[in-house]
Subunit: 261 residues, 2 copies
DNA sequence: CGTCGTATTGAAGAGGATCAAAGCGCGTGG
DNA sequence: CCACGCGCTTTGATCCTCTTCAATACGACG
């Protein structure tokens, strides 16, 4: 056996020896951080204006990824960190028996692929949940640049740390919350991220299926569906398939702490 | 509400505004990586001999931590990354309602505290499960040093990435494994880490309680106990309180994939 | 020797999982 | 344009795993 989730050492899941062919691998358009509308959410976040311009030296390209297409696969060589420009992605792990665990959903300005640095190969799959576009940031160039810019170095570290903290939260959720708390935490988180991107915090479209939400939250799709229905009955949400409206943010927040005391 | 586990953004758990007083904060003894017996497991892992000597410039101190004592707390200012020299630690998160989630157990050569870089404050507590000693590596010095050494920079990145991958595995475990698989995966992982440190891979002493194992694995202490008993009945383990002997590694490994097909 | 913390074990109960069926939206092809 | 099939979702009924509550045992320590 070696598909087991090893906990401290790098996981050894299905090392598919495939070289993914990216049908969507269009000629690169050079993109500049300094003129990007996402610069306050994305990599440059925290850098001063003149420092952001140094990032322009990266000259990274964009890549369009169509709905359902992979951005990278488990086992792919690690070369880039990807920043979402538009669209939504899910990242997931697969066990040899086919069980999947969604490890994250990623929207504009968020980074993916940092798990690949550990072993030089990506440990997870990333797949577009709608037509999407990413910046492919060559990691080697990034560290070159960081070598002459302590601030940038610090920021890269902070981004990785943020990923660690994000996963901490998810562990908390998976380890000690019930179905209602999980879904509530998920929706609140989504709501905050939508808001940060200038969208409504109370009404949005889910890009992922019930099964994908379930995998992410460690529950079955039926349970996800039931919990949505429950929240609707309670007047906390209005749900129509993938369209969600948060009616009572107060009580949704409270649901996360329902079992308190 | 704000104790909710936010998933993408940094978690906001109990920001205890306390300045921990470390009773065990003894005068620092300067320690050198190049002469350390853990150099193949720890930070210098992957650096060539002459490069390791550059790490000696760090001049970091050691700190002894007694059983039950905290190394750092949630909310403590982030200054150091800690490398375990001896002993075992657990790191955990606390929700406002007191629910705890153990996020990791750490033994000789392993690093802790990288979650603090995200916000400048530690997001988790670290506590010694036995009398222990750590190296306190000043993060600022580390990045200074890395600025002139691309290899070191790469290694720091890799260590953080490894932490991300480790947590991926735990998410997989928490999200899609049953009690038997969880405990089996836990024990196998422990076994591998003991082996890497020159201890027996088949017989060891658990430093943590059933409750702590349970918290880590997302199950109750009774279930942990019952699963230990089950494995013993099946002749897979011999268990006497905290002393564990793996009798049938084959079947323990198989237990991780029991539900396969 | 009594007490406290930890572990084990049993019995009962609850929360999700599983199995199953039906509804809905959507694209395809006749 | 409509019929059909497919994928996703919802909902119900039943089952099962793990939790909860409780009692007991064990060892360390004052």
């Amino acid at each position: 056996m070696q598909a087991a989730a090893t906990l401290e050492a790098p996981i050894r899941v299905v090392p598919r020896a495939r070289t993914t062919t990216y049908t969507s691998d269009v000629p690169t358009i050079t993109t500049l951080c300094s003129t990007c509308h996402l610069k306050d959410l994305c990599l440059p976040c925290g850098l001063a204006g003149n420092e952001v311009q140094r990032l322009d030296g990266l000259m990274f390209g964009r890549r369009k990824v169509k709905l359902g297409q992979p951005l990278f696969h488990e086992g792919d060589k690690f070369q880039f960190i990807y920043a979402v420009r538009s669209g939504t992605f899910k990242t997931s792990l697969t066990l040899r028996d086919g069980r999947q665990q969604v490890t994250g959903f990623h929207m504009a300005g968020e980074l993916m692929g940092m798990d690949g640095l550990a072993s030089g190969r990506h440990a997870s799959v990333s797949e577009a949940l709608e037509d999407a576009e990413v910046c492919a940031i060559p990691y080697a160039h990034l560290t070159d640049l960081a070598a002459h810019n302590p601030n940038l170095q610090h920021i890269v570290g902070r981004l990785m740390s943020r990923e660690i903290v994000r996963e901490h939260s998810l562990m908390m959720l998976l380890g000690s919350m019930n179905a209602e708390e999980r879904l509530a935490a998920f929706l609140l988180n989504l709501s905050q991220r939508m808001k940060a991107r200038g969208y409504s915090a109370s009404e949005f479209h889910l890009r992922m299926s019930r099964a994908e939400i379930g995998s992410y939250l460690g529950m079955k799709l039926e349970t996800v569906s039931r919990t949505f229905s429950l929240f609707q009955q309670q007047g906390i949400l209005e749900v129509d398939k993938k369209h969600v409206r948060i009616v009572d943010l107060e009580r949704l927040s409270y649901a996360v702490e329902a079992r308190v005391q």
